[in-house]
């Protein structure tokens, strides 16, 4: 009997404490971002999909078509093509496509690139209505951005 009464009182007290905590939070500012009106800033290392880095002087992609990224990709979502450059030295990138529907955003391609020609974009809210839209032409994207 005594235990029961004790339990009722301590239980009621614990409930009161719980209600106090929630009511205190009612008057605190919200912690969520108001998404469409505000959006989060991505940290520098954020792994979005990849994009081609361009040489600031020439404005051309730094890529030398060494194929390291294609080999490093676990999902096989990168395909690129290049041709001999006109000066006869090295190769020039002619096509770089990323199949985003396969990409797992692991970042192994960027890590494998020795020429800093790949970097992560900060885009995080990508959405598509058709499958074909998932295939990015990164070369075009790099040019548009410029």
């Amino acid at each position: 009997m005594r235990n029961t009464i004790q339990e009722i009182i301590s239980g009621a007290y614990s409930l009161a404490v719980g209600m106090k905590i929630t009511i205190c939070n009612l008057f605190r500012p919200t912690v969520t971002l108001h998404y469409p009106h505000e959006s989060a800033t991505m940290p520098a290392r954020f792994r979005g999909h990849v994009e081609l880095a361009c040489d600031p002087e020439t404005g051309k992609p730094k890529c030398v078509v060494c194929m390291a990224c294609q080999r490093a990709c676990p999902s096989g979502c990168i395909s690129l093509d290049g041709q001999k450059s006109e000066s006869g030295k090295g190769k020039v990138l002619t096509a770089y496509s990323l199949d985003f529907s396969l990409c797992s955003l692991c970042g192994l391609c960027v890590e494998s690139c020795k020429f800093d020609a790949l970097r992560f974009s900060k885009q995080y809210n990508l959405a598509f209505t058709r499958r074909e839209e998932c295939t990015f032409n990164l070369l075009e994207r790099a040019q548009v951005k410029k």
Binding site: E7, S14, P43, L108
Partner: protein
């Protein structure tokens, strides 16, 4: 409250709990044979999200398999990476620089806190309370921000590499972690008052879902499940790995054996993890974060080895069999959740449905980890 299922001669019926039931956290299906609200038999049916990671491990190179490890137990992805990376390192004989080991410990422990906070929230939702989850997520958010700044991702981190970590932590991370540790410490009394002491929560946990230490052993249950049954088995202490031997921490144990025991272990573990993080941040040595001379295409010598780590859910083990080629010959991933779930069938017999679901929640299951 329990039912004597042995001597049951009444009519029973079958309920398919899941694979889309709110309490099963994903795609677990449990075939329940019930007598009213009493469970006569509960047979988990697995495999709805089976992806055959082990086969993937065999047909791609060691490095290419790294992203997969974030997709098993996605709530605590770093532990899986740690287990895999460390197993391959052990086989290939790679020594990891000290700074990298410290960073691994710090990030892993942050991940453990995040995982336990997520569990806390999800468990309260299982019990019908919604608000604690959002408070827990508020705290977890800070961890994810810290880890995102370092690893680049919020869930599937893919941060550890053979011989170290992908990139070094900066001063912001160190100071941010210190801020987080202080904040989390100050939040613990709130959780205690709001959740642990709540009479409804206590009634749902105390004496409910009792799992004996012997049952845990017979089923191979590890992690907070076995520690909640009074066995101080923690891989970090039993088979010290990485930089853990350098730090002072206690293994959180509770001999209550019930839901409350498992809850207490996890909450105490958050505090212990904060201790480890603090020590590791204080002692963080300088130096490189990658071992030198790790070949790009790793070919460990022929043989096999086992490595297990204490994940947030228990002992996560990796057995690697190498035939000295670029790909692993065999990769066994021992998931803690599989064994933890296994005992559910035996322990839930005769329980009431809500109590059994409360126990299921207290096991902290991540279904992709079970199904692999």
């Amino acid at each position: 409250m329990s039912l004597d299922v042995q001597n049951l001669d009444r009519e029973t019926f079958v309920v398919n709990l899941g694979p889309q039931h709110p309490a099963t956290h994903g795609v677990l299906r449990i075939k329940l044979t019930m007598d009213g609200e009493y469970i006569v038999d509960a047979e988990p049916v697995l495999g709805y999200i089976h992806r055959m990671h082990e086969k993937m491990g065999e047909n791609r190179s060691y490095a290419k398999f790294l992203p997969n490890m974030g997709r098993m137990d996605y709530v605590a992805a770093l532990f899986n990476s740690h287990g895999y990376v460390a197993a391959v390192e052990r086989l290939a004989g790679i020594t990891v620089p000290e700074r990298a080991e410290f960073i691994r410990v710090i990030t892993c422990e942050l991940n453990r806190v995040a995982s336990h906070l997520l569990w806390l929230g999800a468990y309260l939702i299982d019990l019908g309370g919604f608000t604690p989850m959002l408070y827990a997520f508020d705290d977890r958010e800070m961890i994810l921000d810290l880890l995102e700044a370092v690893t680049g991702a919020r869930l599937t981190f893919c941060y550890f590499r053979f011989g170290g970590v992908a990139n070094d932590v900066d001063e912001n991370f160190v100071s941010g972690t210190r801020v987080f540790v202080a904040r989390m410490r100050s939040r613990m009394p709130m959780y205690e008052a709001f959740v642990s002491k709540n009479i409804i929560f206590r009634k749902r946990c105390e004496g409910i879902g009792v799992i004996s230490a012997e049952t845990c052993r017979r089923y191979g249950a590890t992690g907070p499940v076995i520690r909640g049954s009074g066995v101080a088995y923690d891989v970090r202490k039993a088979e010290p790995y990485s930089a853990y031997p350098r730090f002072q921490f206690n293994v959180a144990v509770s001999d209550l054996c019930d839901n409350m025991g498992r809850y207490r272990v996890r909450v105490d573990e958050i505090v212990e993890s904060l201790r480890i993080i603090e020590q590791a941040i204080d002692q963080l040595p300088g130096g490189p974060v990658m071992a030198e001379k790790v070949p790009r295409s790793l070919k460990p010598p022929k043989g096999d080895c086992y490595f297990n780590v204490e994940s947030a859910r228990g002992s996560f083990g990796v057995r690697v069999v190498s035939d000295a080629t670029e790909n692993a010959y065999r990769l066994k991933l021992r998931s803690p959740c599989l064994s933890n779930l296994h005992l559910f069938r035996e322990c839930s017999r005769g329980m009431l449905l809500p109590d059994a679901l409360a126990m299921l929640g207290s096991l902290d299951l991540v279904i992709p980890d079970i199904d692999r």
